[in-house]
Symmetry: C2
Subunit: 379 residues, 2 copies
């Protein structure tokens, strides 16, 4: 196994756990939130800022980097860490989710996903083997097996086919090998069908993956459908391997998923919200364009240690987004990433100290504290 995983503490009243994943480029304390750098750049932010925000691992995307600049260019630059100037762990997503977004332009068969490149119009085929080869060239620390991410909603037959094909592709990915010291995670699909989730997870659990992604959730379904599907997957996965809930980053969802045994998260939410001028706070999300903020001399959050909160006032950030200044969106993105990293770090401490149950109640239980779990906006 290329990514050792140790569990430091477990919650007695939920499935939450605190752990440590070791990779070639350092350790990741879990639960962890990983900022997304699809094209080898977390939007508008420099690696040193991610480090100062407490990021332990960043994501990059195999599908995107394969097409531009190409794995050969990244390899020639000494691998993805050198290329993008991030020396910590990197997880590369395989491209299954991108294939989903492009599914009307693409043809998936048992061999792989064939599509016209959105860059040069050329026909390309991404296979499970090629995705592993590209990720080996990128030299990421954690590679994801290529999956077929079914849409939501999805007809039963299509869902069944995507879920089972993802299992077969996972087997082919493992068989095709990986880069030296590179960890490989399989991906559990199955939509909101708990029985399909259980079967997919069981099948993947029987293979020697270093960890497991749980994909295809939070793509439009109701949360009452999300949690049973997640629970079914987690129950069938080996407890001694990290579990990664892909693409989920709403603060309330993150805490609820931690309670269900998830260790890793990624999401474009903090940077996407930031680029729209919206910031996450413990009182809910706040749109910085909102009138009435001009004279607010206090920071976004008094106890936040990010550069946006320690160096600037809410009034100044409001001015920046109203004036169309990029610095405002950049600072909002940084704050949002720091917000999620602080949230999971607090969850980790609470798990280690046996107080996670209490934290869940404190943050999301009372009528005045429900904002973070409900995702409400500050009124």
């Amino acid at each position: 196994m290329s990514a050792a995983f140790a569990i430091h503490a477990e919650c007695t009243r939920s499935h939450a756990r605190a752990g440590l994943i070791e990779t070639r480029h350092g350790a990741i304390e879990t639960p962890a939130f990983m900022p997304v750098g699809t094209q080898a750049s977390v939007k508008a932010l420099a690696p040193r800022e991610l480090l100062s925000a407490g990021a332990q691992c960043v994501l990059a995307n195999t599908y995107h980097l394969w097409q531009r600049p190409g794995a050969d260019v990244v390899r020639g630059a000494g691998g993805l860490h050198h290329f993008m100037g991030w020396q910590g762990p990197i997880l590369t997503d395989s491209g299954g989710f991108q294939v989903l977004s492009l599914r009307h332009l693409c043809r998936i068969d048992e061999r792989g996903a064939a599509f016209r490149s959105h860059l040069d119009g050329e026909e390309r085929t991404l296979t499970p083997e090629l995705a592993m080869e590209v990720q080996a060239g990128l030299e990421s620390d954690i590679a994801m097996a290529l999956d077929v991410c079914p849409p939501y909603p999805c007809r039963s037959l299509e869902l069944l086919e995507a879920t089972e094909r993802t299992v077969r592709w996972a087997r082919r990915s493992l068989a095709s090998g990986h880069g030296p010291g590179q960890a490989v995670f399989g991906i559990v699909q199955g939509g909101i069908d708990t029985e399909l989730r259980r079967r997919a997870a069981s099948a993947l659990a029987a293979m020697e993956f270093d960890g497991y992604g749980i994909g295809g959730l939070s793509i439009g379904e109701q949360r009452e459908e999300t949690w049973p599907a997640l629970e079914a997957a987690v129950a069938a996965l080996p407890p001694d391997r990290p579990r990664y809930l892909m693409g989920v980053g709403a603060p309330g969802d993150v805490l609820k998923a931690v309670a269900r045994g998830v260790d890793l998260f990624d999401c474009v939410l903090p940077t996407r919200l930031g680029r729209n001028g919206t910031v996450l706070t413990r009182q809910g999300s706040l749109n910085l364009h909102r009138p009435g903020l001009a004279s607010r001399t206090t920071p976004l959050e008094a106890d936040c240690d990010c550069a946006a909160c320690t160096e600037f006032s809410t009034g100044y950030l409001h001015h920046l987004v109203r004036a169309g200044e990029d610095l405002g969106l950049r600072l909002a993105s940084l704050h949002n990433i720091r917000f999620l990293i602080r949230l999971v770090a607090e969850a980790r401490r609470a798990i280690c100290e046996g107080e996670f149950d209490e934290m869940l109640r404190r943050v999301g239980g009372g009528p005045h504290h429900a904002a973070i779990l409900s995702g409400a906006s500050v009124s």
Copy 2:
């Protein structure tokens, strides 16, 4: 006088000089290049990055900040330094250049410039007195008198009127007072008419300004017209006050103006070029979109100490701009600002060591080194 100016060294073969301006928020070693933060933000860059790039003083714009967020908001935030998080010297331009850009929407008479706001459509009048009052509220270290910047080309009568009105407005600006400890600079207009420049400079020299801006150059005229106009102004200004050539920042122009006795520069060029993906180098400007850069693992400039050059390769910056990633434009802007600051710092050292003449020859003299003075692109 609110901004003491000491001359440390003078070039024997040109009018270049090395000096020190002292302000309430620290000293400025001259010649100096000042990054432009029109709306209280140097585009895409944080104050700590400007500091790391060696910026000593930043610009902000009276006209813009008066309209948004308003001087009262900035005053309520504790002044512009607190508001924007920049603790070094700040120079506020008065708005004359903005009135020029909006002259088809605006009515200038002896009292001031009346125009419809581009933000809310309301009619507003900026007078010399109001410009000083707003700048006192902003608490900038150096305030500029409101001027009338004539366009280029310009009919004789309009040029004469703008130049003489600028002198009368300068007198009114001085008479209307300034913030405590705030320095006030007058502005010399006169277009490319050397006699008008001389007369305007002489008239302003007779008033007790702390320094002098030279405006209305590099706005479309040929450089053979620029330099005589600049020389005529400089010759009539008091040698013991700083001279600030407004809006000029092309590397070759900066060195040539230093040789003609200019101490201060500002220009949006480095950030504007950066946002277009173009970087300044000693070999000329380089468009980062250019094919053939993908595999370049060396930095933009081997001897540059900016974050773009010390942390990233040219190939990665090429990837960022091609992929539309904001980080690329941000790093290009930072490099360009650092480039100009290094250039004037090198000029200062050369002046102090009696080698400025030699520097001019080395950087701009030989056939292979002409790029920086001619502004050529790297082929």
